[in-house]
Amino acid sequence: MAATRALRAGGGGCCCCHRRLLSSSSAGGSPTAERGERRESAGLGFSPPAHSRNDWIGPPDKHSNLRPVIFYVPPKESPLERRLREARQEAQACDQHFWARHNCAFRQEKEEFIYSRLKAKGLEMRDETGQKATLNAEEMADFYKDFLSKNFRKHMQYNRDWYKRNFTITFLMGQVALARALRWLRWKKKNVGN
């Protein structure tokens, strides 16, 4: 109990993670956004300019290190384009959720490890000058090895999902690009005809 309290006070642990995770997991724009309406995404605090017809990408998220994307919903979005946009939104949400949790867990376990090692050595979390005490790379190596092996299965699952999502989205992008190209050609032909 005391240990966790000390961690929270000292390291600024990951108590912020829980609040953030809930708010940022719906990033990417609401799927039910009215077409043509000014885009906004919950919790991201940014709206692209109204005249813009492209997606916007933001700075890396504090927890997941992934860059959130606000998707553009065109006024005449075809079903295929909608599928693509929703697939990308879903992928973004999944990735954000996974990495935010994973990185938070890493940070928290790292703090706990440092704390326990320092305690074993009889040192405090902060030294006389108030600087946070750290362990050198060789001492941390045990933690890195342990963390990697503990999360191996989780990573395997994520890898499979990521590859599947990546291929699906890229394939959909290809289909959308092809559809748009054909549409443009048809429009051109019609105009030339007229």
Partner: protein
């Protein structure tokens, strides 16, 4: 002109206040210095009657894995339209729509201290439109294809070509180099396409084009296809089918074996070493048309070199690898990591001695190359014994100059064709006679 200057001035004058404020809040981050550096590089350009502020792109530095500072996510290229009304000037006098109020409220709730309006505009500036600009494309594609690594790969292939015991054919050399370069671009692009979320989470790779959304995954795949297909076709039809097959196999090995294996097993390092060893073999087969002992020896030298190079590099990246889920020896089997590095440093000495035995070089080669091979072995031994950051850095940086120097020395000690004919060597003799017959 004056209008522009005034805006620029006002822009910069405000900013230091914001950043100084942020600095008091931030801990251990060299925000001031880096942001001021960033500001110095901004200049105003007029392009197509649009006034836009454009930051001069930072030259891509060689990936320095040992950077102690936390790299801030500065955009390398920032293109803004100078809005007539700066949001910072008139935060509240703007007719606030529900959205604006909500934004200000949410910004106020954030942990960033300081007036919410200032934080909002700084954050806003970091949002980029995902629109591909044609003049950015060459830079983006260069980074996507890891152009510097590609250049290194092409030079090892050229070394293989140069070491082949045949008369030098310039056309074949150029075609082989171009084909290898295109194949390498394709492989590197697919590698980045597969690794976007992982690259985002590692300091060394977080500024790659796909991570930053500068190019879409579809375009990356199209670029890879448009490099890979002509590259392999060039090698197969313009050089010879063996080289083409090796090129195609190498792309497959790198993208479909090495890249996924990085997250599954430490054996990825050995696969990666083979990937690095194949280009000089390709150079050799491009020149001679056959896979003989000399090709395998050159491949062997590159194979062995990969270990001290990569193992030393990976020693400083253990935290990122662990968090990112990469299975590397330096994390899971640190003792093995150092043993293998040392083992292969010593193997380089052995392989250099075999070169004259196979009639690729004269006996001066093992003698001249001994000092540099001994030096890298010494650093390898220090890395094995000390297992710390400084010894790993020394070994890594040594490997960077060791390889070009070794290849250069090898080339200067290459056994000339004339020497071989004099000694009545079968290979050299045959070539000589064959040449006499075919030339009109």
């Amino acid at each position: 002109g004056l209008f522009v200057w005034h805006l620029k001035n006002t822009g910069i004058r405000q900013i230091p206040c914001q950043f100084v404020h942020l600095c008091r809040v931030a801990n251990d981050r060299l925000i001031t210095f880096q942001y001021f550096n960033f500001l110095k590089r901004m200049y105003v350009t007029q392009y197509n009657k649009d006034l836009s502020q454009r930051a001069k792109p930072k030259s891509d530095s060689v990936a320095s894995p040992f950077r102690e500072l936390q790299q801030l996510d500065q955009e390398k290229k920032v293109i803004h339209k100078i809005r007539p009304i700066s949001p910072v000037h008139q935060p509240l006098s703007e007719t606030s729509s529900r959205n604006e109020l909500r934004e200000i409220k949410s910004a106020a709730e954030t942990e960033d201290s300081g007036p919410p309006v200032r934080a909002e505009s700084k954050e806003d500036r970091q949002w980029k439109e995902m629109k591909l600009r044609l003049d950015d494309l060459p830079g983006i594609l260069a980074r996507l294809s890891k152009i510097k690594l590609t250049a290194l790969v092409v030079s090892t292939a050229s070394a293989g070509f140069a070491m082949a015991p045949v008369p030098f054919d310039l056309t074949c050399f150029l075609l082989a180099s171009l084909g290898t370069g295109l194949a390498s671009c394709a492989a590197n692009s697919i590698n980045q396409f597969f690794e976007v979320p992982f690259d985002s989470n590692m300091n060394r790779t977080k500024n790659r084009p796909l991570v930053r959304g500068q190019i879409s995954p579809l375009l990356a795949v199209c670029f890879a296809a448009s490099c890979g297909v002509p590259g392999i076709a060039l090698l197969t039809l313009g050089v010879n089918p063996l080289t083409g097959a090796l090129g195609a196999f190498n792309i497959f090995l790198y993208t479909c074996c090495y890249t996924p294996m990085k997250r599954m097993s430490i054996a990825n390092t050995w696969v990666g070493a083979v990937v690095g060893a194949i280009p000089p073999v390709m150079g050799w087969t491009a020149a001679t048309g056959s896979l003989d002992a000399g090709a395998l020896l050159l491949g062997g030298i590159l194979y062995s070199w990969q270990f001290p190079h990569f193992n030393a590099l990976s020693w400083g990246l253990r935290e990122d690898y662990s968090r990112g889920g990469y299975c590397m020896m330096s994390v899971t089997h640190p003792g093995l990591c150092r043993r293998v590095a040392l083992r292969h440093c010593l193997a380089l000495i052995g392989l250099s001695t075999v070169a004259p035995v196979l009639d690729i070089t004269t006996w001066t080669f093992p003698v001249i190359s001994l000092p540099i091979n001994l030096y890298i072995s010494y650093l390898g031994f220090r890395f094995y014994r000390d297992a710390d950051r400084s010894s790993s850095r020394k070994l890594f940086f040594c490997s960077l100059w060791h390889l070009p120097m070794l290849l250069l020395v090898m080339f200067t000690c290459k056994k000339s064709l004339l020497e071989k004919e004099d000694k009545g060597d079968l290979l050299g003799g045959n070539h000589g006679r064959a040449m006499e017959i075919t030339l009109p």
